[in-house]
């Protein structure tokens, strides 16, 4: 197990280097002279040249690459073109905001999907299962901007129970968490259901029943543990996506998160911010995948002992 953890952690190093290289390439692949981009289209030639020299854009590519790599490895992702603040300072608080939303949403999705999916599988092909399946399908088909706006209209405007936007109190969390979580819950419920139906049909379930195990042990111990593997995969992907910033949810609820930051930086051509946001998004994704791999090993001894 320790070897597995160390192996996965070591894998993060080349992955991170790959991402940094990609970000460097991105900067040079997008059309236009970076110095002109920074200075503005109508800036005088002398200003553009000064910027080019100051930023080192006049150096050969490998020198720029080396410098960029060194800076990133020291935690310096550059300075925002607009606010002139270090990128790290703008990105980190956004990540924390997004992480709160993402973790709570996925927690909500996990609880709802495990309960609904297991119940659905236990009552497979009976009315309760069909109701759950239809509700899950509706959840998947409803775009977040529709469910989010409906939720705002109903709970905030019509009933007046919950705030519309912002994140200053726990009550502000409820609508975005449920809006984002409900979509993930719908996707996961279908997965949990089909994996549980599959697991409940296996021979070892008959063995467990033949031992005299009560039904809740059969379902939640013997079947669920076996059904978890694909569920964990999908859960990890969902967590990665929500952590990367759910642009639509964040926009609807005016949530100061990573997704909105990334979209704004693209619209304002604030490339260092875009790079920083992508860097953190990618690192989070790798980290989540690593955790998923470790959970796999915990769930399935066949992976642990290979």
């Amino acid at each position: 197990m320790t070897r597995l953890i160390i192996g996965r952690l070591l894998f993060m190093v080349p992955a991170a280097l790959g991402i940094i290289t990609f970000l460097f390439a991105l900067f040079h692949l997008i059309p236009g002279d970076p110095a002109i981009m920074l200075a503005g289209d109508n800036a005088p030639r002398s200003v553009v040249d000064a910027i080019r020299e100051a930023y080192g854009f006049d150096q050969p590519l490998h020198v720029q690459y080396g410098r960029y790599m060194a800076k990133v490895l020291q935690g310096d992702l550059g300075i925002s073109n607009y606010s002139r603040d270090p990128v790290v300072n703008s990105v980190i608080p956004r990540i924390i905001n997004t992480a709160q939303l993402a973790f709570l949403s996925m927690l909500f999705a996990m609880i709802v999907s495990l309960v609904l999916g297991c119940v659905s599988a236990m009552y497979w092909n009976r009315p309760l299962d069909k109701v759950v399946t239809v509700v899950a399908l509706l959840g998947i088909c409803t775009p977040v901007f529709v469910s989010g706006l409906l939720a705002i209209y109903f709970f905030s405007i019509y009933l007046g129970w919950l705030p519309i936007s912002g994140m200053s109190s726990w009550r502000h969390f409820i609508l975005p968490v449920i809006t984002l979580g409900a979509f993930q819950a719908a996707v996961l419920t279908r997965m949990v259901r089909s994996c549980m139906v599959d697991a409940l049909g296996k021979d070892y379930i008959v063995t467990a029943r033949a031992k005299g195990a009560p039904e809740f042990l059969v379902v939640f111990k013997h079947a669920l543990r076996n059904a978890l593997l694909p569920i964990v995969t999908l859960f990890g992907l969902g967590l990665g996506h929500t952590l990367g910033g759910s642009v639509v949810t964040e926009t609807i609820f005016n949530w100061p998160g990573l997704g909105r930051l990334m979209v704004n930086s693209i619209l304002t051509r604030d490339l260092p911010i875009t790079q920083g946001a992508i860097f953190f998004f990618a690192m989070i994704f790798i980290l989540v995948n690593m955790i998923v791999d470790l959970v796999y090993a915990w769930v399935d001894p066949r992976i642990r002992y290979d």
């Binding site: 296996k202 021979d203 070892y204 008959v206 063995t207 467990a208 029943r209 033949a210 031992k211 005299g212 195990a213 009560p214 039904e215 013997h222 543990r225 076996n226 769930v299 399935d300 001894p301 066949r302 002992y305």
Partner: protein
């Protein structure tokens, strides 16, 4: 056999209600097993032997349903009808594992892959007995040793995928024997194993039967295995019993053409080069479309007019030996 039977199955019918129609998997089966005896149940795939076994365990789940019949078990000094118990209720759970335990055909898939072998046995013990986890562990290790698993303490900590097929079947047997059941149902326990391992597992089961005083219901399609294990035999075809009796009697003097056909398809060293193996013509009809009259009539070399219209009942042909065939009966 003057001893009271341990379990008595009377006129059991188990049907499966599917979208394609009703499959009469078990259609009027009756037998009994006395304490410490071994009953062999023989038949081709789909003849209803596994469904019968599951019915005895109370493990018939939708779309299957016990339509009719009784499964009487002596339990705590009284007689319980398993056919009437809720398959998920507390009473049948108290019977499973303690009174009746079961092992299955596929040792590869019948152990849960994500739990340690030992923990699966400990679970079986703790479900029925009020003892501490440490005591249950000790008992599990003893059981692993008793079924002939070397280094039982190491094996206890291992997962099913780390054991060979034969070892897994031994572990399954250890789990089944963990609460000293009075009846062990073995559903083709040797079918998936190599021949040498088959012999070892059969020896083990015979030894356990003596040591634990357990009755065994041994399901197989292999007549050789029956000859080595069983005291009594029932031969099943298409959800019904076509012949039953003591094992010697069945082997020496098979009365039903189906049993005769099965015997004729066993290779024998004594007949080497003298006799050709015979095959039973045709295939087993679908349980969705059971032919009228005797189920075996379409494949039977001796079928008569009456066989296609009426279904023969089991009738005694010799003491303790019964066959369901008009050839042995005077039609009325």
């Amino acid at each position: 056999m003057s001893v009271d039977p341990l379990i008595e199955v009377k006129d059991l019918k188990v049907h499966f209600h599917t979208e394609d129609g009703v499959a009469r998997a078990v259609d009027g089966v009756g037998f009994s097993i006395a304490p410490e005896r071994t009953l062999g149940v023989v038949g081709e795939s789909g003849c209803g032997k596994s469904v019968t076994a599951r019915a005895v365990m109370g493990l018939i789940e939708a779309p299957g349903k016990i339509e009719q019949g009784e499964i009487l078990l002596r339990h705590n000094g009284r007689t319980v009808d398993i056919a009437k118990l809720d398959p998920r209720g507390a009473e049948i759970r108290g019977i499973r594992g303690t009174e009746i335990a079961m092992i299955f055909q596929e040792p590869m898939t019948s152990l849960n892959p994500v739990f340690r072998i030992g923990d699966q046995i400990v679970e079986a013990i703790l479900l029925h007995e009020k003892i501490g986890r440490a005591a249950a562990r000790e008992r599990a290790v003893e059981l692993l040793a008793a079924v002939g698993i070397p280094l039982p303490r190491q094996r206890f900590e291992q997962f099913p995928h780390q054991l060979s097929g034969g070892m897994r079947q031994r572990a399954m047997i250890a789990m089944a024997m963990s609460c000293n059941p009075k009846l062990l149902i073995a559903d083709e326990p040797t079918t998936a194993l190599d021949v040498t391992i088959q012999a070892q597992v059969m020896d083990l089961m015979n030894a356990l039967r003596r040591d634990f005083n357990t009755a065994i219901m041994f399901i197989t399609h292999d007549l050789g295995v029956i000859a080595g294990m069983a005291d009594d035999v029932v031969v099943m075809y298409l959800g019904r019993i076509v012949e039953s009796g003591p094992v010697r009697e069945i082997f020496r003097n098979p009365k039903h053409p189906y049993t005769q056909g099965l015997m004729g398809s066993i290779p024998s060293l004594a007949d080497w080069g003298v006799r050709r193996l015979t095959a039973i013509d045709g295939v087993v009809p679908s349980p969705f479309a059971v032919p009228q009259g005797c189920g075996f009539a379409p494949r039977c070399p001796h079928a008569m007019e009456i066989c296609r219209t009426r279904s023969p009942d089991l009738a005694e042909v010799a003491p303790g030996h019964a066959a369901a065939c008009f050839l042995n009966q005077v039609p009325t």
